[in-house]
């Protein structure tokens, strides 16, 4: 017995301890997945700061870094379209998703799933920018300035949509403190004015030029223009003069209105076609969001704008998607016609409107959407063919599932309108001579007749004709006081009634979303 205890027990104990010490350490793993990395790659992180504006995820379209039921709905542009267009007099959607259907009639509430996606997408982008600034701000001063600009842009969009938001400037588990809209405005103004001096000089580019898609001084000026133009809504104090000043800087810069149409397509049309990054249309693009079907593809960017506005009975849109969702309300179409708008194909409508921007399709369509059930019928209401995947030079798309069409987030045309409106407001509600000249340049580009005067309402209508379906309308209606509250500016299905009705005292921003799903 003693012999065994002397030999076997110590041996067993030694074996056990040797085994144990090597095995407990196994719990401290390091990731072996080749799709994960622990070291910082500043170039990749920089790209990611921009990518959040344009694509959804890292593993191809259909994946998303924002967790959602349908990953293809989480992209920024799609949700900006939903909240800024479906709630206005421009667009209406056929689909029954509760997130979308309630926006058609301004009934979106704090539990709206799509508002939550917009909120989460913006704050995710802000977190990535904050992380870059925490770990890689020393790499390159211009890049740091650009990341600060993108962060400011996303804070601006959040403040415009939700009002009193949190302003986290670093990523930590501490919950961000809610600031008032005025505080956010002041921070944004200070940040943008600082960053503006550090950004690159304004230079119009094509997609083959280095730096296409990057923000430069002109982008900061355009964001400042929006900030100042809407200052009365955000803070109670108007800043029309500053808005005009920064709009003028963009107009005087290297970016220009694109006017060189081809035999088959007008210049305005080419701004929204598959090769708008290559054809020269990008001379007008101050901040393009890149898209290319085989390399930079997304469901919620221009692929969404194109596929959701087309049906199977319409002409080819260049890609395979025809989701039949969004189309024009009667109020938008009537901005191009004084009498009854005609039906027929796009060429017929363009000829009758005498304006290149009336890109509608009305074969087998009615202008009216009479009853609530008709909202779900795509054929009630004119279709919009403004966005397309087809290329003006006839070449093929790189991937038939996804568009190559870039989205021009800031277009110089906006500065023309902003200048005209800001100076008109300082001029008793009528456009100044310079404002009229700028607005007529826009009309001339669209081969529409020039006008001799513009009232504030005329300028608002011109904005609609130029920028419909580009996710800006709600902000403009709020600035004019036409969105919520007791006013006389009505449109079909405003607030949910078929006949025109007033939307009683509504807030000028959407409520902040609460966590809604698990």
């Amino acid at each position: 017995m003693k012999r065994y205890i002397k030999h076997i027990l110590p041996a067993a104990a030694m074996l056990l301890s040797v085994g144990l010490s090597s095995c407990i350490g196994d719990l401290d793993v390091t990731p072996i997945d080749p799709n994960k990395r622990t070291e910082l790659d500043p170039v990749a992180l920089f790209n990611q700061c921009y990518a959040n504006l344009a694509i959804e995820g890292l593993d191809g379209p259909g994946s998303s870094i924002v967790s959602a039921e349908d990953n293809g709905t989480t992209g920024l542009l799609r949700q900006l379209f939903n909240s800024n267009e479906l709630t206005t007099d421009e667009a209406i959607c056929r689909w029954g998703d509760p997130g979308v259907a309630t926006m058609n009639t301004n009934e979106q509430g704090s539990s709206n799933a799509f508002l939550a996606l917009l909120y989460n997408r913006l704050y995710l982008g802000i977190s990535v920018c904050n992380h870059y600034l925490d770990v890689a701000s020393g790499v390159d001063a211009t890049r740091t300035a650009e990341v600060r600009f993108i962060r400011a842009l996303q804070f601006y969009l959040a403040m415009d949509a939700f009002g009193n938001i949190g302003l986290p400037l670093t990523v930590s588990t501490e919950k961000p403190v809610q600031h008032t809209r005025k505080e956010v405005y002041e921070w944004l103004e200070k940040e943008l004015l600082e960053v503006e001096t550090l950004l690159a000089e304004p230079k119009a580019k094509k997609s083959t030029d280095a730096g296409y898609g990057r923000a430069d001084k002109a982008a900061a000026w355009m964001l400042l223009t929006r900030l100042y133009l809407n200052a009365e809504v955000y803070t109670g104090t108007a800043q029309w003069a500053k808005a005009a000043e920064y709009a003028q800087k963009v107009i005087n810069s290297d970016y220009k209105l694109f006017t060189a149409g081809t035999a088959n397509y007008s210049a305005y049309q080419m701004l929204f076609m598959g090769d708008n990054g290559e054809s020269g249309a990008s001379v007008e693009a101050v901040l393009p969001l890149l898209q290319q079907g085989d390399r930079t593809a997304a469901y919620a960017n221009t692929t969404f704008l194109i596929a959701s506005t087309y049906n199977t009975d319409m002409p080819d849109n260049g890609i395979s998607g025809t989701w039949a969702g969004n189309r024009a309300r009667k109020d938008l179409v009537k901005k191009f016609f004084t009498g009854t708008p005609p039906t027929g194909n796009t060429a017929t409508i363009l000829a009758a409107a005498n304006d290149d921007r009336a890109l509608f399709y009305a074969v087998n369509r009615t202008l009216e959407i009479p009853t609530a059930n008709d909202i779900t019928d795509f054929k009630k209401g004119y279709s919009v063919v403004k966005f397309t995947g087809i290329k003006s030079d006839g070449s093929a798309v790189t991937n038939t599932g996804f568009a190559d069409t870039d989205f021009f987030f800031f277009r110089v045309a906006e500065s023309y309108l902003a200048y005209a409106e800001a100076t008109a407001r300082l001029n008793g509600g009528n456009a100044t001579a310079q404002g009229i000249a700028y607005l007529n340049q826009l009309r001339q580009r669209a081969h529409a007749a020039a006008r001799t005067s513009f009232s504030l309402n005329d300028i608002l209508d011109e904005r609609s004709r130029e920028f419909y379906f580009e996710a800006q309308r709600r902000t403009d209606l709020i600035r004019y006081g036409y969105y919520g509250g007791n006013n006389s500016y009505n449109w079909t299905w405003k607030g949910g009634a078929a006949t025109v009705a007033a939307l009683i005292a509504t807030a000028t921003s959407s409520p902040c979303p609460r966590p809604t799903s698990l």
Binding site: Y4, I8, G19, L20, I24, D26, L27, V29, D33, P34, N35, K36, T38, V43, A44, L45, N47, Y50, A51, A54, L58, D59, G60, I65, V66, S67, E69, D70, W95, G96, D97, P98, G99, A101, S111, A116, N120, L124, I126, N130, G166, P168, V171, K175, P176, G213, G293, R295, T296, T312, G318, S320, A324, T376, F378, K379, G389, N399, T516, L518
Partner: protein
């Protein structure tokens, strides 16, 4: 192959096992189930006469404009909003996997020489498997129309485990018995996956890519996790009537930053029947009281690297954003460094009893189970993390209930034998704490198939975890549900989410089972039943097809259940109504078996002949339920594309030589 040597005078026993397997598995196209349900039944399956019939392999498909394909042979493409032809979906799909596995284990048991009360035990196990799954979908199939999809996925899996313990038994004298055990366990799970799929541009394509492969990039991932535990157990028996067990575990997982957590448990049993005052009570043949308390941990269904601050890299070919260099992307991963073990604490009291010399016996248990630090994917406050949802510890759940079993040997005679076993369980489940749900319920569960993200279940404190969260439907004088007529429960004049309420639940509060076995001489007859009472199901088959407005609008026709014509709702705006939540309590007959045993058949001289049993079994025999859908037994409570459970009949013969 199995080796069972016994060495050193039975002190060392080894049990060595090795098993090799080669399997071939065929995977069908599961999308065909949904297609079969939606497809227009008036269309012919085949279409061999259209000009472009060859593009669709001679099957009928709903078409749409094909100009974007830039191929003169393809005037039409498949309409990808319409359901695909289900026969084509099954035929034009090939996915087959070949896998090889090795499962081995070694059990080594050693009774220490000269100190036989001490036993040492070591178990080693390995499960290694490798599989290749080949997929070929031709260009005529809607799933991969025009290009086709060809490729394979290769998976390698390696699970290793080691467990060793020492056990010491001692009977001090007749009254006391004692044994103690201490040990250590280690497990490693490792997985590697490689996959790549591609299609081809046909030669007839007019772009520069004709004849070339579509763009593709191989996908490679690898992951692993470890589990290490230390455990000990002590058993003490006094007078063969009082039993006490204490167990303690220290479990560590590589999935949490704080690896380790303690999980103790205690149990006490009292064989009351052995007591002097009950020993001679003949009416009572068994009485035992059981008490238990314990904690267990859970770490399943979360990723392996949840607490690391690392970057995810873009994969595939379509997620580049070319601002700088090649446009590669790195996204910081959302993580929770404080993620920890989910712990369940259970307390139970039970009585085992028997009367009439165990002719009638049973047991009854009451239990209380509290789960804390529930792990789930929950909302993170915007701006505090790198995703809006992250795996985190979100709350607590309580399950409490009663379980009873009854066993009755109804007939026990020379030729007849009949026993009946019955069991019933009542369970009440409540969420007791939930992060983020303090003021409003959190929607959960699978989305229903109307719109995107429409949900009909929610979590809230004080409710069951499987409760439905729906609007209250209003009906007309004839009892028909009126579309859009929702009861304004909070009487604020608006119908919105605040008017939803918690209604029933999908998990059955009461479940029962009944099994009967009757034997007469050589015959045996068995029958078993199962019942769930109080479970409700949301009939998404009806709800998703109730939008009659869409019947003709889409350019193609879809099949609908007859109930939607009677209901005659136009849109899918109000599908979150309690009208679609139906009582799905059921009684199922799981199994009926009839058998005949025989022996000494064909007996000749010294050979004892054949013996065995001949039997016939029917399974899933019938279901009794008020639910009008296909099958009331729906796992998560939302009935959509359930594949029907077959009733099967087996005729069998087992022979002993």
């Amino acid at each position: 192959m199995n080796l069972n040597p016994s060495l050193l005078n039975d002190h060392l026993t080894l049990n060595l096992n090795a098993k090799g397997m080669f399997a071939e598995t065929n995977y069908p196209n599961y999308a065909a189930i949904g297609d079969a349900f939606r497809f227009d039944p008036t269309q012919s399956i085949y279409d061999k006469t259209s000009a472009d019939a060859n593009n669709f392999a001679g099957y009928f498909q709903w078409r749409s404009n094909g100009a974007f394909l830039k191929d003169p042979n393809y005037p039409f493409s498949h309409n990808n909003k319409a359901p695909a032809n289900p026969v084509a979906a099954l035929d034009l799909y090939y996915e087959r996997a070949y896998s090889r596995s090795f499962v081995g284990s070694a059990d080594i048991d050693y009774k220490v020489h000269g100190f036989e009360d001490l036993r040492l035990h070591l178990t080693l196990g390995a499960d290694i498997s490798e599989g290749t799954q080949n997929k070929r979908v031709p260009a005529t199939a809607p799933a991969a129309f025009y290009y086709g999809s060809y490729g394979a996925a290769n998976k390698l899996k390696r699970n290793l485990s080691l467990s060793m313990y020492a056990q010491y038994f001692k009977d001090f004298n007749e009254k006391h018995h004692f044994d103690v055990m201490g040990g250590y366990e280690w497990q490693h799970y490792w997985r590697d996956e490689n996959k790549d799929y591609r299609g081809f541009y046909p030669i007839t394509n007019t772009t520069a890519k004709r004849g070339m492969e579509t763009e593709h990039e191989p996908f490679h991932s690898r992951t692993e996790n470890y589990l290490v535990s230390f455990f000990g157990r002590a058993n003490y028996t006094f007078l063969n009537r009082y039993f006490l067990t204490a167990t303690v575990r220290d479990d560590g997982s590589s999935r949490f930053k704080k690896h380790w957590a303690w999980f103790p448990s205690f149990a006490f049993a009292w064989k009351a029947k052995e007591e002097n005052f009950l020993k001679d009570v003949n009416a009572l043949s068994d009485l035992k009281l059981r008490l238990g308390w314990g904690k267990t941990g859970q770490q399943d269904e979360i990723g392996d690297y949840n607490y690391f601050a690392i970057y995810n890299i873009n994969t595939g070919t379509q997620s580049f954003y070319p601002i700088l260099e090649n446009g590669r992307l790195n996204m910081p991963q959302a993580y929770d460094p404080l993620l920890m073990w989910e712990t369940t604490t259970t307390f139970n009291v039970g009585i085992d009893w028997g009367v009439l010399n165990q002719r009638l016996s049973g047991s009854i248990d009451w239990y209380y189970r509290n789960t804390t630090d529930l792990i789930n994917n929950a909302d993170a406050a915007a701006g505090t993390n790198f995703k809006n949802r992250v795996d985190t510890n979100i709350g607590s759940l309580r399950n409490t209930g009663v379980e009873a079993t009854l066993s009755w040997k109804a007939i026990q005679s020379k030729d007849w034998y009949w026993t009946i076993d019955y069991n019933v369980t009542y369970n009440q489940n409540r969420i007791t704490d939930l992060v983020g749900a303090n003021s409003k319920p959190i929607e959960t569960g699978n989305s229903v198939h109307s719109g995107t993200g429409t949900k009909v279940k929610a979590y809230a404190v004080g409710q069951s975890a499987s409760a439905f969260y729906v609007y209250q439907q209003a009906y007309d004088a004839n009892g028909k549900a009126i579309e859009g007529a929702i009861v304004d429960r909070n009487e604020d004049g608006i119908i919105n989410n605040d008017d939803r309420y918690f209604y029933k639940q999908s998990a059955a509060p009461v479940t029962m089972g009944l099994a009967s076995r009757l034997e007469y001489k050589k015959w045996d007859f068995g029958i078993s039943f199962r019942a769930n009472i109080g479970n409700y199901v949301y009939n998404d088959v009806e709800a998703s097809r109730s939008n009659m407005n869409e019947l003709w609008n889409s350019g193609y026709l879809e099949q609908r259940p007859k109930s939607t014509i009677d209901l005659n709702w136009q849109t899918s705006k109000w599908v979150q109504s309690d009208y679609f939540v139906r009582n799905a309590s059921f009684l199922k007959c799981d199994n009926i078996t009839l058998g005949y045993s025989f022996e000494r058949v064909l007996k000749t001289g010294s050979w004892h002949g054949l013996s065995g049993r001949l039997y016939a079994t029917a399974s899933n025999v019938f279901t009794i339920s008020k639910y009008k859908g296909l099958d009331p037994e729906v796992f998560n409570g939302i009935d959509y594309d359930l594949y029907p459970r077959p009733t099967s009949f087996i005729l069998g013969l087992s022979l002993n030589f």
